[in-house]
């Protein structure tokens, strides 16, 4: 009995050890693999009223840099890490390990408080580097400046040094904790010290900066924050604002502050930019969608797809907001006195009372798809889709058009299609159909392909899905380009650029503008695969 209980104790202990191994292994794998993101420590030293702040992730073993090196390798660079070192070391005056690595402590930034559009060189700027080894980094700077002892000064207990001619002028250098700070003027250095010691607010304390930083991915290679109003305000005051009459018009639907990041993932490079906004006239066009209806209809070999949403919903707001500008633009063409006159003419041609009656039918997605079935760009096929709110009304309008000359009808994929003479290319035909809540119009071959297609659709294709996954945001109005199918037209299967990059590795570009959760966001993904 004693033996049995001891044996069962041994078995229980073995089970406990196995469980410990599993739990500890799982914990360590998941905790160590968690994406940490880049902590923008440099923003803690940047004055809050800065106009531009550009930061770079200097942690070269971060997932973003690992992915970036891998992607560059797929584009044909054999060993990007070595090439980077070679490029920096140049003729041997710089040693990566001794002279560069000490600076790579996580993030480095450049900021500018105000840009002088009159052409005078800016002075209110600084460079801040979080160093891996701040002591050695200081030594490197002094060595590069000739090795002498620089003049030093002190402000609020913080020592800083005068460094002659860092970049075309005099400069000031300070070591603040693990950060190296270089400014162009003494006053700017004192400002940074004030920020560092808490007497002035930092950019990191700014709620809008924090909101934008939170909104964008924290796993980036580069980060740009910009106060566009301040930046362009300077331009307008300098007489460069010929494109807007009243700068306040620009910011009436949201903040002028934007942030952008560029990042790299396993699938490709990603660009995102975001700004806090309120509902604006173009908001309907940027309605967030999980998927495009027409991407789920076109064949997987579609080379390009452009999609917008709710043109009808955006129209009134656009006219209200920018009517005078449209009037000026139309009047400048000379044919009509105002856009309203132009629209009345269009309405008369369509046989509707006013143009808005026609436009209000298009309250869903509208898209343009293109194919290049041969290597000849002149053989491209195009089709235009639009969701319509009233099939019968649109059919009535189109059938009443004097300009349409019907040449026949076909039934493709169980849908009746009308063929018409192409007004602009005599002898050529166009096809259209209105069915199931949408209108389809384009080259007969393109329309037939779509209606008779039974295989994979673009939405189900690996290349499109990979681009969407890499993009990582919902879709608003978007554009999709399938590079291999486009390159067959322009460069053949093995398309190598002038600088020897293997462009065949480029898979797709997906770019979208979307309004979601109080932010307007523009995002793009370029997917790469060898």
């Amino acid at each position: 009995m004693d033996v049995l209980s001891r044996r069962s104790g041994a078995v229980a202990l073995t089970g406990g050890l196995a469980a410990l191994a599993v739990v500890l292994g799982w914990f360590l794998v998941s905790a160590s693999g968690r994406a940490q993101g880049v902590e923008l420590t440099t923003a803690e030293l940047v004055p809050q009223d800065s106009t531009i702040y550009v930061a770079v992730n200097t942690k070269l073993d971060s997932s973003e840099w690992i992915a970036a090196f891998d992607l560059v390798e797929k584009l044909g660079l054999d060993d990007p890490e070595s090439e980077l070192i070679d490029a920096v070391e140049g003729g041997g005056e710089v040693d990566w390990e001794d002279d560069v690595a000490p600076f790579l402590g996580g993030n480095a930034a450049f900021y500018m408080r105000d840009y002088d559009w009159s052409g005078d060189p800016p002075e209110e700027f600084g460079v801040i580097v979080r160093a891996a080894n701040a002591g050695r980094a200081m030594e490197v700077v002094f060595e590069q400046l000739g090795g002498g002892d620089p003049d030093e000064a002190e402000y609020e207990g913080q020592t800083y040094y005068f460094i002659p001619d860092p970049i075309d002028g005099d400069g000031y250098l300070a070591r603040i904790g693990s950060h190296l700070v270089i400014t162009a003027t003494e006053a700017e250095m004192e400002r940074v010290i004030d920020v560092a010691q808490g007497r002035e607010p930092s950019l990191k304390d700014d709620s809008e900066f924090a909101a934008l930083h939170d909104e964008l991915t924290r796993n980036f290679i580069g980060f740009v924050y910009m106060d566009t109003e301040k930046l362009l305000g300077g331009a307008l005051q300098s007489g460069l604002g010929v494109f807007v009459e009243d700068e306040d018009d620009l910011w009436q639907w949201g903040s002028s502050k934007t942030a952008s990041v560029i990042s790299a993932k396993d699938g490709g490079f990603v660009f995102q930019t975001a700004g806090q906004t309120e509902a604006s006239p173009i908001s309907p066009l940027l309605t967030a969608r999980d998927e495009s209806r027409f991407a789920g209809m076109v064949p997987a070999d579609t080379a390009m797809l452009f999609s917008v949403y709710d043109v009808a919903g955006a129209w009134d707001g656009i006219i209200d907001a920018w009517g005078p500008y449209l009037d000026d633009a139309v009047a400048a063409e000379g044919e009509y006195d105002s856009y309203e006159e132009a629209l009345d003419e269009a309405a008369a041609e369509l046989g509707v009372e006013n143009f808005e009656d026609f436009l209000e039918l298009f309250d869903g997605e509208a898209a343009l798809a293109a194919w290049f079935p041969t290597d000849d760009e002149d053989d491209g096929l195009f089709a235009f889709f639009a969701e319509v709110s009233d099939d019968a009304r649109l059919r009535e309008i189109i059938e009443g058009l004097d300009t349409i000359e019907v040449t026949g009808t076909e039934t493709w994929g169980g849908v009746e299609v009308t063929l018409t003479e192409d007004e602009e290319n005599p002898g050529e035909e166009l096809a259209y159909t209105i069915t199931d809540g949408y209108a389809l119009f384009g080259d007969p071959e393109a329309v037939r392909r779509i209606l008779e297609h039974e295989g994979d659709t673009l939405a189900g294709s690996g290349r499109y899905r990979s681009a969407k996954d890499t993009l990582g945001t919902r879709l608003g109005s978007f554009a999709y380009f399938d590079f291999p199918r486009i390159f067959t037209v322009f460069g053949g299967d093995e398309y190598v650029s002038e600088d020897e990059l293997n462009m065949s590795a480029l898979q797709a570009l997906l770019f979208t503008m979307v309004e979601d959760g109080g932010f307007t966001r523009a995002a793009g993904a370029v997917t790469i695969d060898d």
Binding site: R6, R7, L24, V29, G33, L60, E81, L84
Partner: protein
């Protein structure tokens, strides 16, 4: 008593070392230092890339070998005070001892003979302690006793054989009494 304390120190030493620097990075990562924990994460980030089967399998093996250090150290920490008769005790100990030796060898091959980073140093110290204790036991019991006899024949076996790895009742009593 000294030997017992030494045996109990092996696991915690290596476990602490797992979270402290083991090595510096190569090439563009020269300034970065990596603990065992960070190496598991770094290998994981590499695995996120679209790698071939062999590269992926190699990375998994490396991750498992490194994780094995933490798991062996945790087992050793649990077993050393009260259950040195369990087969996992010598298995984990030798894993730490031999693994530490190999890791030190790799370090010497890469950087020459110089003081190891703190984490690797703690791992090595733990491994050396375990091997030293085993050598002492070996000398006490004699060369005729196999490793399995010395390490794996437990107090709790039906034969009731005790071995040198299990604390004597007197030791247990002392231990309990503080």
């Amino acid at each position: 008593m000294v030997e017992r304390v030494a045996r109990m120190a092996v696991g915690p030493l290596v476990l602490a070392g797992f979270f402290l620097p083991w090595a510096h990075g190569p090439s563009v990562l020269a300034q970065e230092s990596y603990s065992g924990f960070e190496l598991v994460g770094f290998a994981g980030r590499l695995q996120a890339l679209d790698l071939g089967f062999s590269a992926s399998a190699t990375l998994w093996s490396v991750r498992l070998l490194i994780l094995g250090v933490a798991i062996a150290a945790a087992w050793h920490t649990v077993l050393a005070p009260v259950a040195r008769w369990h087969f996992a005790y010598p298995v984990s100990g030798w894993y730490l001892g031999i693994g530490g030796g190999i890791a030190a060898g790799i370090g010497i091959w890469r950087a020459g003979i110089e003081p190891p980073p703190l984490g690797l140093g703690l791992w090595l110290a733990g491994g050396v302690l375990f091997v030293a204790c085993e050598m002492l036991s070996f000398r006490r019991i004699g060369p005729s006793a196999s490793i399995s006899e010395r390490a794996m024949v437990p107090v709790a076996t039906p034969s009731g054989v005790r071995n040198d790895h299990s604390p004597s009742p007197a030791e247990s009593g002392k231990g309990a009494g503080g």
